[in-house]
Amino acid sequence: MKIISRNLLLFAALLLVYTLLFRFGLGQLLTAEKWFWVIIIAILYGGIIFITAWTTGKRDGMENFLFDAGFRWNFTTFLVWGAASEAWFLLDLHSAYESIRVVHITLLIWSGFLLLHFLLFLILRRRRTIKGVHKTDIFE
């Protein structure tokens, strides 16, 4: 039973690539003032993250019996997105339309939801698992 599994690492790596590509594309489109495409690229970014998280999470569920209520994926997204976004600003790669304040506010709000997710995970783990394995997944 691995907390940092192969699927989680694959998700983190793909997410990093997506985020860097998104940040680059976003900067270019904002500078060119192509507002419609900014919305499109944001939707694509969100969609591809959702699909990747769904696929890797599902595969992880088949290989790894650890119950986490999706918390590891949420936390990884928080860390990777936060680190990549902070680095983007620190390296001065952002456009004139972007502000690091937005990143900080997003991370602040997100950490609140992350805390709620963690509490939910603890409650569900206590109610639905035996030693971290979902009761319905133990016997096959």
Binding site: M1, E63, F65, I130, K131, V133, D137, I138, F139, E140
Partner: protein
Amino acid sequence: MINMTRDDQMHDELLGAWEDTYKKGQLTLWIFLSLKEGPKYVSGLQESIHRFSKGTISAEEQSLYRTLRKFYHLKMVDFSAGKGYKGPDRKYYHLTPLGESLLHSFVERNILLFFEEPLKGLLINSSQAK
């Protein structure tokens, strides 16, 4: 004649569907019974499940590894290293006292009732009915 064939086909389809549902959740019992016979490595376990169930239950090796990892985590089985056949050491799995106790309770509550009357008689009757 055509109706007879259709009935036979429906019988087989229904039996297949019933057996598929019935087999779900049975792997644990077959694993535990096989380990009750004695410690086994995964391929040996696979072979004895096949033998005990007269070929009606088959388990993928990957599925068995995953299940045994889970049972090990929950302290229902343990393993010790043993000699492999022309290769590296193998993990020989065995039931822990918790596993033994679980098997005992499960069999007592869910299986032994089939060996008592009137169920025993009804089962024998059903098998002879056809």
